[in-house]
Amino acid sequence: NSLYTQDSGPRPMELIEIFKLFQVQFNRSYSSPAEYARRLDIFAHNLAQAQRLQEEDLGTAEFGMTPFSDLTEEEFGQLYGHQKIPERYPTVGKKVESEKWGES
């Protein structure tokens, strides 16, 4: 049940097929066979991670393949997060007694 390719090494056939679907669905191509192999590895890891989240979640959420399934957790955080932790946020003053507009 595995397929050997020079680029990516032995892989379960099903995983390669799912990755192919992912590439088509989200319009992904990779610059080299090495990059393809790396992304396939990450993709496999992420599918396992999604499965784990599915089991851990206490609500009705469903986890699985998404547009970010070929990114590492670090890459995802760097690309889509804030990239910085707030050292401070604006001081929120004491609430004034009057709600009337224009009064300080």
């Binding site: 991670q49 979640d57 609500g59 009705t60 959420a61 986890f63 889509y80 707030p86 946020y89 929120v92």
Partner: protein
């Protein structure tokens, strides 16, 4: 506080889902979404404000490398408003030294901005009475999210570490059938037996992500730090009765 509230059901209040692409500008988009919704509620006027102006004119010059919603509000106050998205469109990268704020007409502005209490009941009440607000959450679980209500614990989603700003647009409870279906399709006995209270959040990763660009988080246990930074702009002068109320 009403039992349910969904601002998406009110006509022309919530602007279309945006896509930040590979620009760390969730903070600017969340603030823009907040101002657009409040402006539409208050003045019944459809405006799409310039996210690019928030990136180019940010006082910290961070643009696509990250920021926080309060940076965006300060930019709006400093520039006396925002240009339209049409005049000053999103370029997917910032030009921090090329702020073009003075070049274009302002289409929306704010009076000030506030941080709400970190109490989910207070947040729900404000949301229902005044309109959508911004929150900043730990986005860890969103990488693999497809649909449904995420119910995490502090160990699976640390509420102290928040790194993604989004717009809170409503709240409700999952239908019993949804909970039952989850029970039937999962071997996990921990799945909910009762309707799950949830928040409805508008993301900035395009309409093809999640539930048509939205996602839901469990309401009531500070899931993923949702109560850490609840911020909102204030548009117009205070009035006793708002022109629109949140649809159930």
């Amino acid at each position: 506080v009403p039992p349910t509230c969904d601002w998406r059901k009110a006509t022309d209040i919530i602007s279309p889902i945006k896509d930040q692409e590979k620009c760390n500008c969730c903070w600017a988009i969340a603030a823009a979404d907040n101002i657009e919704a409040l402006w539409r509620i208050r003045y019944r006027q459809i405006v799409d404000v310039s996210v690019q102006e928030l990136l180019d004119c940010d006082r910290c010059g961070n643009g696509c490398t990250g920021g926080f919603v309060w940076d965006a509000y300060i930019t709006v106050l400093n520039n006396s408003g925002l240009a339209s998205e049409k005049d000053y469109p999103f370029q997917r990268h910032a030009k921090p030294h090329r702020c073009l704020a003075k070049k274009y007409k302002k289409v929306a502005w704010i009076q000030d901005f506030i941080m709400l209490s970190s109490n989910e009941q207070v947040i729900a009440g404000y949301l229902a009475a005044h309109g959508p607000i911004t929150v900043t959450i730990n986005m860890e679980l969103l990488q693999h999210y497809q649909k449904g209500v995420i119910k995490a614990t502090p160990s699976t989603c640390d509420p102290r570490y928040v790194n993604h700003s989004v717009l809170l647009v409503g709240f409700g409870k999952s239908k019993t059938e949804e909970g039952m279906q989850a029970e039937m399709t999962s071997s996990q006995s921990r799945k909910p037996r009762h309707p799950t209270p949830y928040w409805i959040l508008k993301n900035s990763w395009g309409a093809h992500w999640g539930e048509k660009g939205y996602f839901r988080l469990h309401r009531g246990n500070n899931t993923c730090g949702i109560t850490k930074y609840p911020f909102t702009a204030r548009v117009g002068q205070p009035v006793k009765k708002l022109p629109v109320s949140c649809p159930p």
